[in-house]
């Protein structure tokens, strides 16, 4: 039996994320036959595109089948999904082209160099953000940290999904990276198992812990901390939202806050916005401070 999941207009406010996590919940289960219907959808941001692409692959991984009702797409949403390559990835009728979107991307296995090229050439390197080459390299490095974290700690069986978008009117450059793995709270609860039983640690507490300095990075190469990313976003006037289980993190206006949300999502979604104006950014010279360590 086919179930139809309705995709509505999805932006970046809380209601939209609740809708995404509702779709994830309704599509849980093995061997489902799912159709996505866009009749009520007037707009999809890059966060929704990355999430829906990942959800479709998750359903397939669980032995199900996915169909997108392309004929229910409005002109604007259809153009967006065609332009960013989402439609092409799922057998839709239109090929991608270069515009204000940054391509939808699915990496089944980690390839740091390919992802760096995606960020450098297709996301940051389009001339939309007016920053020095040195600072641009620092931005790419920080985004690559998110991508590598998603692979190494997410343990997503289907890999990592990304999509970006440039909003010229708002002068914003956005990127979403999502995985459908075990989520940050699972890793933190395991880490703190000698001190707390799992039920004693709320998801928001786990997220707060993961963002603290010194919680990360085994010298053997892997880490679970996010303090480096936090520092970068705060200093550069960016905005970052992260969802994992019921945990929620917001970095905006130089401040970071943690909250518990009602809707559970087992994986991790990171949505980041950068301002396309160099006056918001640290100068490269400010980043080089002696002593090094």
């Amino acid at each position: 039996m086919m179930i139809t999941l309705n995709v509505y207009t999805l932006n970046e406010e809380e209601w939209s994320y609740q809708q995404l996590f509702r779709l994830w919940r309704e599509a849980s289960g093995d061997g489902l036959d799912v159709q996505f219907d866009f009749t009520g959808c007037g707009f999809l941001r890059q966060n929704a595109v990355a999430f829906l692409g990942g959800l479709a692959r998750l359903i397939e991984y669980r032995g199900g089948r996915v169909a997108f009702a392309w004929d229910t797409l409005g002109d604007a949403v259809g153009a967006n999904l065609a332009q960013n390559g989402f439609m092409e990835s799922f057998g839709g009728p239109r090929k991608h082209w270069t515009g204000n979107s940054i391509p939808f991307r699915h990496d089944r296995v980690q390839d740091a160099h390919v992802f760096e090229n995606y960020l450098t050439q297709l996301w940051l390197g389009r001339g939309w953000v007016n920053v020095s080459p040195g600072l641009g390299n620092a931005i790419v490095g920080n985004m690559a940290e998110i991508y590598l974290n998603a692979f190494e700690h997410g343990q997503s069986p289907i890999g990592v999904f990304a999509c970006g978008q440039h909003y010229p009117n708002n002068r914003e450059l956005n990127l979403t990276i999502v995985d459908f793995g075990v989520g940050i709270p699972s890793n933190v609860r395991l880490f703190k198992a000698h001190e707390f039983r799992p039920e004693q640690l709320r998801a928001a507490n786990c997220m707060e812990w993961a963002f603290q300095a010194g919680t990360s990075t085994k010298p053997g190469g892997r880490g679970i901390g996010l303090d480096l990313l936090q520092d970068f976003v705060r200093k550069n006037g960016g905005r970052l939202e992260m969802f994992s289980h019921e945990g929620y993190v917001l970095i905006a206006d130089g401040k970071i806050s943690f909250a518990e949300r009602s809707k559970f999502f087992e994986g991790t979604l990171v949505n980041i916005s950068l301002r396309c104006d160099e006056s918001y950014y640290c100068l490269a010279s400010e980043m080089s401070i002696e002593p090094l360590f």
Binding site: A112, N187, L190, F191, H194, P219, G221, D227, M287
Partner: protein
């Protein structure tokens, strides 16, 4: 001893494997008590994992003061400073806080088992 990083790993310093390659290139000289200079000319992208392997693992066998004294950096781009510092600070904690090390090992072993 001086090691030119770019010819060894390329301009993009992102992976643990590339960091290990750099570490292997100078470790014997460092163990002999030599001063080692890492020249980062023509490199541009950096991720902390690279420095975990390239530098952080030195902290297992050497104190931070000795590493500071005998491991030098030339032409290090500004984009490399934060990941390098982050990596060294965490390595220092990992190798000198047994409770932290045990807890982190537990997480990473569990991840490896489930992978």
């Amino acid at each position: 001893m001086k090691v030119n990083v770019q010819p060894l790993v390329g301009a993009v310093c992102m992976t643990y494997d590339d960091g290990a390659k750099l570490h292997d290139a100078y470790r014997a000289a460092f163990d002999r008590g030599e001063e080692v200079v890492l020249d980062f000319a023509d490199t541009r992208i950096f991720v902390s994992r690279f420095f975990n392997a390239a530098v952080g693992q030195l902290l297992k066998d050497y104190g931070i003061d000795e590493v500071r004294h005998r491991l030098k950096f030339e032409n290090l781009p500004g984009a490399a400073v934060a990941p390098l510092r982050h990596s060294v600070e965490n390595a220092q904690r990992y190798f000198h806080d047994p409770k932290f090390q045990t807890a982190l090992d537990r997480v990473l072993e569990a991840q490896a088992a489930e992978a």
